[in-house]
């Protein structure tokens, strides 16, 4: 039976604000599908966002949602998880939100291994404020603040999370819509901090400036440049040039922080300390 989206959406909030051809709807539906297919109790899910195009998603999602300030979604979500460890806490963020203004929160959540699932709607541009370059904008590509091409080197967000001690990092794209659902499902079932770099297209502010005239061109670009992680690992460096891996890039088990913290409380109580 086809998935009925109505129960997961605040349909009265439609139409949404995203531009025609924007990939954010695909990522949002992937999150819904993942939740539905895992049969998660929607009463036990909290969805948190910051500011930006991506962060509008929770406004349309019929869950307990918290729309916070620019860059701080992970910090707010950390508070929720610590206060209510039994909740599944999902953070919806963007590349500007998570990697620029809120980058510090991302690396520390990864380091702590706190049980949040962060889905970054990564369109490598500041869409909401009309196309300034972000820390994910590729070198040489054009943005409103990079009229001669981007000079700065971008982050690899999965590598950043792994480097910060993250226990789960994965990547997919809006072209690989089914794969994206599977990756988010794995992230949601990981016990600890899980990060999904969901590449999404911004035809309005990125595609038009970068010879990817239509949303389809942008999605085809994802198709042509994404490499499954198993293949990626066998590729020599010269073949990796211009490509990127998709799939689960890192998954290891480590104690989840809110559990570690609860354990400490138990231990201290047992000892009878004040």
């Amino acid at each position: 039976m086809a998935l009925s989206f109505e129960k997961y959406l605040r349909t009265q909030k439609m139409p949404h604000i995203w531009c025609p051809g924007c990939g954010h709807g695909i990522v949002t539906q992937a999150i819904i599908r993942a939740i539905d297919e895992l049969g998660l109790n929607t009463e036990k899910i909290a969805i948190v966002s910051g500011i930006g195009c991506s962060s509008r998603a929770p406004g349309y999602l019929n869950f307990d949602t918290l729309h916070t300030t620019h860059g701080r979604a992970i910090a707010f979500a950390t508070g929720i998880k610590m206060a209510r460890p039994e909740l599944k806490v999902i953070v919806i963020t963007g590349d500007g939100d998570a990697a620029a203004i809120g980058g510090n929160h991302l690396i520390h959540a990864a380091r702590r291994n706190i049980g949040l699932t962060v889905v970054c709607f990564d369109n490598n541009i500041y869409g909401m404020t009309s196309g300034q370059y972000s820390p994910l904008t590729p070198v040489g590509s054009f943005a409103s603040t990079a009229p001669y091409g981007m000079l700065e080197r971008p982050f690899d967000l999965c590598e950043l999370v792994v480097g910060a001690g993250g226990t789960f990092a994965a990547r997919s794209t809006t072209y690989h819509a089914r794969h994206l659902v599977n990756v988010i499902k794995e992230a949601l079932t990981h016990n600890g901090f899980s990060f999904v770099d969901a590449l999404s297209q911004c035809p309005t502010y990125y595609g038009r400036r970068n010879k990817l005239r239509t949303p389809l061109d942008m999605m085809n670009w994802f198709r042509d440049h994404a490499v499954p992680v198993s293949t990626w690992e066998k590729m020599p460096p010269e073949e990796r040039e211009g490509k990127f891996p998709i799939g689960v890039i890192k998954k290891v088990d480590a104690p989840e922080f809110s559990e570690v913290y609860s354990g400490l409380i138990e231990k201290v109580r047992e000892r009878g300390d004040e």
Binding site: G71, I101, T129, Q132, S144, P147
Partner: protein, 396 residues
Amino acid sequence: MASEQRKVAMTGNEAVANALRQIDPDVVAAYPITPQTDIVQYFSQFVSDGQVKTEFVTVESEHSAMSATVGASAAGARAMTATSSQGLALMWEMLHIASSYRLPIVMPVVNRALSGPINIHCDHSDTMGSLTTGWIQIYSESAQEAYDNVIQAVRIAEHPDVLLPVMVCQDGFITSHGIENLEILADEDVKQFVGEYKPSNYLLNIKEPVTFGPLALQDYYTEFKVQQAEAMANAKKVILEVAEEYAKLSGRKYGLFEGYRLDDAERVIVVLSSTAGTTKAVVDELRSKGQKVGLLKPRVIRPFPAEELVDALSGAKAVAVMDRAETFSTQGGQIFTELRAAFYYAKERPLMRNYIFGLGGRDTTTREIHKVFSDLENDLERGHVEKLVTHLDVRE
């Protein structure tokens, strides 16, 4: 002799961006935020096109934008940035650093409501929240005023008796995105007016090493603050001197406030920025019916021109102060409480009441202004104010 001015049609943001272009600061550091983004966006184009020599720094947050601006200014550069709302809130820590280092930074601010709930439209909660940061604050009614104020702000900030940072505010969307006719000065006239920036103490002067922001505890902290307060007091005179010089150049005269049909006015509205324009239309309408009404539009509220405002309102019988931000003090908005306090020692005190209005961009039209004047009329008949603080145009 000033060259001829150019008549242009521009938004408030574009006008301010052009003021920045003409000032040609050494460094601009910025982060995008609605509705300010246009200013630095236009400016980045000027940088790309080689119309300015500015080093343009794109940063990863407003905290970093102000930090980079502080660093550049301390190093001896003429440094600027621009922001709105949450961006200003995120800068809060660095606002104090800028003013206490006595750095003459000029920052256009496009007024926008603070979260939450999330809102991108105009009110003054952002800059009203930063009144205690040691920055001079100038408010603009129109794109023309925003443009003129930014140019004057450079001279005010850099004056040796002042050396304080300045925010130049305009109303988000209403002014920032509305296209108006205005006159802009010739590039060479602005260049001459602002002059070359010659800081007296700066980090890159290696012949005379200095320290910014050292530790000063019980021993010297107080003296630093007293000096800042004295500089703020000095600013009042400097603002008027700069305005006078600017009037000679531009033909446009500015003061600490603007009085509109105020001389014999019995009922007066005090309001900042774009709403003053709406109020002027109502004043004209009521005046044509023989009613003695007027407007007082403060231009500068840091420093707060207490004596001047009291003097200007000395003939008024009933005054409505309209604040575009809640303070949650329960005693009214910021301008109201300060103006009311200023009247404490005055011989004659008018009836005075407060309206909190236009929050989160709620439209304030001539209809609401009519209501305020009519409330004042009723108060005069009654002999006392009906209500100290009123939230204007609220859903029942």
